[in-house]
């Protein structure tokens, strides 16, 4: 297995606040790294640095063997795509779904103009959306549907790394489950490499192969999923895990675990 993405010593300051403090991390090809942390831990900042939206004060982002500098080329941009938390604001409200998907496809020359429509329909089908969605505007969809469209847009340019920043946090639990199922399906079908950020440990457990924990801008623990959820190596991880509200298990031992 080879390393898909490596970050070294990333540091980011906001005024006098250190959002990221010398964070180093690796993501292996075709695996999903779940990144957990409480609010203000710097996990979203990390995602934005990797996606090239924020430039770090110090440190490097290495995609395979390429160093991604301050100014990224079109090709480098294409390789890292991101899905955001808030489905209400992740699309230009004045563009139809067709325009949204076509812009990505044409800008990165994934298909030529005559095949755009067919490709858009395929993309929607891959996230289990009907092709009648194409002519509509984002506000006509529910949160879960928008998040599916966001996934379709991110995958449309065939990125080598997909970052998902709390993609299910704004959704109802049942919708969350269906989006997680979709992620798992796409993961195995497309051999995705993902950085999946969430504050919800249940979500991280459902999607990740490895888990990284952040706290106050630092990386606290990186571990395999099995290790992390049963034998976390730091006291903070243990504290997080034991704080998750649990169903009263004694009565439910049959169906649940």
């Amino acid at each position: 297995m080879s390393t898909a993405l490596r970050i070294e010593d990333l540091t980011v300051h906001y005024d006098h606040f250190t959002a990221l403090d010398k964070v180093s991390l690796e993501i292996q090809q075709h695996t999903t790294l779940g990144l957990v942390g409480e609010s203000g831990s710097g996990k979203s900042t990390l995602a934005r640095v990797i996606a090239g939206l924020i430039s770090p004060v110090q440190g490097q982002v290495l995609l395979g063997s390429q160093n991604l500098g301050k100014k990224r080329s079109r090709e480098q941009h294409k390789k890292i795509q991101m899905i955001f938390q808030n489905p209400d604001s992740s699309f230009n409200p004045k563009h139809t779904i067709r325009q949204i998907l076509a812009e990505a496809l044409l800008f990165h020359q994934i298909v030529d103009r005559s095949h755009v429509d067919r490709r858009c329909k395929e993309l929607l089908a891959s996230v289990r959306m009907d092709e009648s969605a194409l002519g509509r505007y984002p506000h006509e969809f529910s949160g879960g549907q928008r998040q599916r469209i966001a996934i379709a847009r991110a995958l449309s340019v065939e990125p080598s790394i997909l970052i998902a920043d709390e993609p299910t946090s704004a959704l109802d639990v049942s919708v969350q489950l269906s989006i997680l199922e979709l992620f798992n399906k796409l993961k195995s079908e497309l051999n995705l490499t993902m950085l999946f950020i969430s504050h919800d440990l249940g979500v991280i457990h459902a999607i990740s192969d490895n888990v990284a924990v952040m706290r106050q801008g630092r990386l606290v623990e990186v571990n395999t999923k099995e290790q992390f959820f049963t034998r976390p190596s730091t006291a903070y991880s243990r504290e997080l895990l034991s704080a998750v509200p649990k169903m009263p298990t004694s009565q439910l031992s049959g169906g649940f675990l």
């Binding site: 996606a51 939206l53 990224r72 890292i80 289990r128 269906s178």
Partner: protein, 288 residues
Amino acid sequence: MKSTLLDLPLQPDDQRKSTFQTILSTPSLVAGGIMLVLLIGLAVLAPVISPYQPSEQNLYAFLKPPSAEHWLGTDQLGRDVFSRLIYAARSDLKIMVLAEIIPFCTGVFLGMLAGYYGKWVDSVISLVTDTFIAFPFYLIVIIVAFASGAGQRGIYITFILVGWIVFARVTRGLSASFRKQEWIASAQTLGLSGVRIILRHLLPNVLPQAVVVLMTDMVGLLVAIVTLGYLGIGIAPPTPDWGTMIADGQSFITTAWWLSAVPGFAVVYTGIALSLTGDGLADLWRRK
């Protein structure tokens, strides 16, 4: 895992309101639109409609009250007030629209630049807007009008200098708030350039609000044009203009009140038409 697809179904196509239906359900837009169409119709068709030439004098029939022959009476030189009124609408409205084009475009563009890029770009643009705002508008107008000679040129120059500021301020605020939203971030993640994001993504989103501001701003501009005409440093005679008409009628206010009242009413009418349209558009876009 079981498949759970509980997302709401899409609204069927026939339940989506057409643009025309939504316009009809906005009364202020309908009213403003009708008033504007009427006004513009009169102005455009002035040469066809007007019963007399606007500067055609008839010293035998001066200061006549409204009658079948002269719908709105005649002035002190026996010129037909109705003909002058619609010819004045032609020149006043033309200047109003022309003088807004350049400031509107520059203002919207600079505002988007400032809001999108922030940092020093924003500092520079904001510094300029704040400086201009510190000067009273009419002071600048009068200075420029005197410097460039009275007439339309003064209005155009003044407006190119200061007219863009309102638009820049509005679009700057909007762009800055859109910039924090995730759809801009996802456009950046795609690798789109700043200019492309501004023109393809920001522009359609700030334009509605800017157009609403344009409507109210035109009212202000019209009042400025009329005021300058009234003060004698606006549109130069013999081109008919509501401001000069008000000023000319002033001496006869007790005997021939319609001379000043009619062009005054025309200004108010235009103001209401533009404001209603602006309100209606704002309403329409907010509901969408």
